[in-house]
Amino acid sequence: MTLDFASNADYLWVLLPEIVLSVWAMVVLLAGVRRPDDPPVNPEVLGWLSLVGIALAAGVNGWLYGVTSTNPAAMITVDGFRLFSNWIFLLGAALTILIAPAYVARQRLQAGEFYTLILLATVGMMFMGGTRNLILLFLALETMSIAAYVLTAYNRRDRRSAEGGLKYFLLGSFSSGFLLYGIALVWGATGSVHLPEIGATVEAGAGFTGLLLAGMALLAIGFAFKVAAVPFHMWTPDVYEGAPSPATAFMAAAVKAASFVAFVRVFMEAFPALYESWYPIMWWLAAFTMVIANVVALSQSNVKRMLAYSSVAHGGYLLVALAAANQMAMAGLLFYLLVYTVMTVGAFGVLMVVAHHGEDRLQVEDYAGFGAMRPLLAVLFTIFLLSLAGFPGTAGFMAKIYLLQGAVDSQLWTLSILLVLTTVVSYYYYLRVAWFMWMRPAPEGQVAASFWAPLPLKVALVAGAGIILYLGIFPGGLLDEAMASAEGLGLARDVFLGLRP
């Protein structure tokens, strides 16, 4: 099917996955409604219902591969980058919904609204990956963010959750302000909010350079907040620690992925000609994020907080791809985001099992004896941890190699070595959980039955570990797919080598 966007009805086709998912979010919301004195709907049932919607949206997303757009001025694209990132968001949402019952049911929360918010946030992400218009991008970002703020504060009875929600809301709005200001300045400098048009104007050397650079810098700051790059990461640990665990998993995985996708789209489509100017920003952001996040994670004894810093650290690795800015790096970024989403949600899934009622078992000591009591869950957790550490045999390794190849291709030697050295640092804190799990005896009175793992969570963990191992051994197909999806986004090698001082 070929679309030229001569009539606005074409947008209905090109936005079909988003439309399906939005409608389904309403279905889930209504299905979860009961009168106050009726018993609430079983969260697992609502979870499976939400999954049906995600599957439908995924099916439509697959169908979009057969659709071509001939109009570059359209606000929504149908390129591989968008479709691939849609897979990431849908996968992240599906896994989150699968692990959520363990928390939602235990805390007696309203499952319907929780899932609806996740689905709506996913719709926002899909818009972020698909749009080429800065205004639409902002709206999509807010759609996603507001759902995420509510998810963070969702456990009203928990003070940590409320505190996290408020912090996230204030700092998130603050960063959105930066972003909006940046958009305004870029519009002022180039007279357009359409990415390819901005790109063409910049390339031609037209527009007000000072204004443009200021706008670009503000955009970079806004996105750096969203992807939690050091030094704009301060909100992350508190928010991640306070939020309900499934919401944390969702934020650490899918929300971050969406922010990265938009970050890449804006800088690669609008400002490739300014690579010389923004390359040092990315370089320093990546270096700071990798080093500081990994070092701080070392000293965390709370596993949830450790995973929060680990997610910041992974953001650092991904920023290396942005600094490298070639097609290999962009493909690596896509592949990494997918793998990262799976392993992060998986790790949070096991964390929820251990965390127990009221999330009172989050310390690393609480993992003592877990391996002896629940060996299968512990094996799955070990796989996720090894993958997060980037160990050979897991998908995390292939993803890291992909990023490294991109960096090496752009001759970013210092960043490559930093990436590798900080990876060694990260081994320590990931392995520490493994050693408590396997090498420490369980405390007195701890029984295996206190680790409650509902069926959907087990499904998510097994599926996640399966994906991690499969991609760790046979990554070929997906690597090619990621490479094809990044088509046209990277700068040509000689261009940036020439541009860079």
Partner: protein
């Protein structure tokens, strides 16, 4: 024998089987009961050893350099292949691995008391990793197997180890991972450089070989690779993880660690560092640094070993000393030296493995490893004492044992180029007697002054079965090393000659630029790939694939800048 091997197409499946069958065995271990797991693991690894014995017959010393080769695409986007192949060097490393594994498992029958299934599953995983390292012809594959050995060893030390097991396990893991990750960057650099001339991406060993590199690049890459392997060897001063890991590891863990895992490092030097970076490896300063570190390792470790109250720690330090001889042999860059180093690797694997097993047996009986807790054991346990003495003599390197041949050749090879270093190194042999003999004296002879030791049982049938093959090999290799040396020679000669020729007149880069030598075919001059070179079908010709040598001038300029 060879008829049988031929009929079963042994060549085509043996390496795959040796790598993947241990993984399959994991399923068997997990399916059997806690009690039976050890029997299954022992039977499985023994079967693999018998299978691998066929390599001795099937490997043709007069044939191509790399044999049993196979190539299959794996990750095509990056040019990663599932490529296997072995030369005479890896042949014996693989045999050593398949031999030590059942021995270590049988020796651990009583030592491993809990979580047995998990333990034997990890041992099998370890075997997959180690054999994979020695059989890989693709650097990416090699790296994966190289790292894969860390995880099982981490858990073996950390779960079944002694008092300070977690500390030892983490130190071992972080130390070795640091080195290998830096090597990964080096591998990627090499990989990118090899594509500079427009060659398709490939991680294949022979494709990366002869990649033109300036001396500066070679020195950096040498550092990255050498650090990884020096930590693994371990070369002084990167050895501090070893005593901890050895002492804390359970007996079978120590055995495998000493016998095979340390060899990964030395193997890496021979297989990758020397041929990839010949100019750096022959650079006088580099050679001197490596030799001096080797010699310092020999002497320092001997002195430290001599004062250890803990017998296991003493043996751990002897490993450092022995691996010092290996490094001497390698960086002497002579055929004798290299062959000697390789032989030391094998004999150290056997004798140190046996020492750890013996100490494990003593520990099972007395639950102590302190030398002072024993004394006069020769009177109550004569069989044990006999095995102990022979092993100790082999460790020292007394003529007639395996230790002697290797150390002699390594020192002889060093003497040809660096007489003073060889002279200093030779004192290490004396120091070996200085630390080994007092320990033997204190444990086996002296007064039988402890009540607990009077009732100590001698070797059981199982323990005899564990030690007998080891002791037999020590003597056999000591008096008749020719079969081993013959098969190793082509591999060792290829490395030494290749390094010599590529560096004789000018650097590797120079040689490649002037198209004076086709470096790859030099290396495999007598191999199967050489026949491909002269085959009439141009699509298969190696020289055609080695486009890396047609370096555009701008590339060279950029390197200088």
């Amino acid at each position: 024998m060879s008829g049988l091997l031929q009929a079963s197409a042994y060549e085509s499946w043996i390496l795959h089987a040796l790598i993947w069958l241990p993984l399959l065995g994991i399923l068997g271990v997990l399916a059997s009961s806690e009690e039976r797991a050890k029997h299954f693991a022992f039977a499985w690894t023994s079967g693999l050893f018998v299978l691998s014995l066929g390599l001795l017959w099937a490997f043709d010393p007069a044939g191509p350099l790399f044999q049993f080769t196979s190539d299959a695409p794996w990750i095509e986007l990056w040019g990663v292949g599932y490529s296997l192949g072995i030369d005479g060097i890896s042949l014996f490393m693989i045999l050593l691995t398949t031999f030590i594994m059942p021995v270590a498992i049988l020796g651990a029958y009583r030592y491993i008391g809990e979580k047995r299934r998990a333990f034997y599953a990890l041992m099998l995983l370890l075997q997959t990793g180690i054999v994979g390292v020695f059989a890989s012809m693709d650097l990416f594959l090699f790296y994966i197997f190289f790292e894969l050995t860390l995880v099982p060893m981490y858990f073996i030390v950390g779960v079944w180890g002694g008092e300070r097991r977690v500390y030892a396990a983490v130190k071992f893991f972080l130390y070795t991972a640091l080195g290998s990750l830096l090597m990964l960057v080096g591998i990627l650099y090499l990989y990118i450089q090899a594509q500079a001339g427009g060659a398709p991406p490939s991680f294949h060993y022979l494709e990366l070989l002869g990649t033109p590199l300036t001396l500066g690049e070679q020195l950096w890459l040498f550092a990255a690779f050498a650090l990884a392997f020096a930590i693994k060897v371990p070369l002084f001063p990167f050895h501090t993880w070893l005593p901890d890991a050895h002492v804390e590891a359970p007996t079978p863990g120590s055995v495998v660690l000493a016998a095979v895992l340390l060899k990964l490092g030395a193997y890496g030097f021979i297989r990758f560092v020397l041929p990839f970076f010949p100019d750096a490896a022959t650079h006088p300063t580099v050679v001197m640094v490596m030799l001096v570190l080797g010699v310092v390792g020999i002497i320092y470790a001997a002195w430290v070993a001599a004062v250890q109250p803990d017998a296991k720690k003493l043996v751990a330090y002897t490993s450092v000393a022995h691996m010092g001889f290996v490094v001497l042999g390698i960086f002497a860059l002579t055929l004798n030296g290299l062959q000697g180093g390789l032989l030391v690797m094998i004999s150290h694997g056997i004798s140190t493995g046996a020492l750890f097993l013996l100490l494990g047996m003593l520990y099972e009986r007395r639950h102590t490893r302190l030398i002072e807790d024993f004394g006069g054991l020769a009177r109550v346990a004569p069989l044990l004492a006999t095995a102990f003495v022979i092993t100790a003599l082999a460790t020292i390197g007394v003529p007639g044992t395996s230790g002697f041949v290797g150390e002699f050749l390594a020192l002889l090879g060093t003497w040809e180029r660096h007489p003073i270093i060889a002279l200093v190194g030779t004192t290490g042999v004396i120091f070996a007697a200085y630390y080994m003999l007092p320990m033997v004296q204190k444990i086996l002879f002296n007064e039988l002054d402890r009540e607990e030791n009077r009732t100590m049982p001698d070797l059981s049938g199982r323990e005899i079965a564990v030690l007998a093959p080891l002791v037999a090999l020590m003597v056999l290799l000591g008096v008749f090393p020719t079969p081993v040396l013959d098969r190793m020679e082509p591999g060792a000669r290829a490395v030494v000659e290749y390094v010599e020729e590529t560096t004789r007149d000018g650097s590797l880069l120079e040689a490649a630029r002037l198209d004076r030598v086709d470096t790859q075919s030099r290396f495999v001059h007598d191999s199967g790939r050489h026949e491909l070179l002269i085959s009439p079908d141009p699509t298969w010709s190696l020289s055609d694939r080695s486009g890396a040598f047609r370096i555009p001038d701008d590339h060279i300029l950029r390197d200088e800048g």
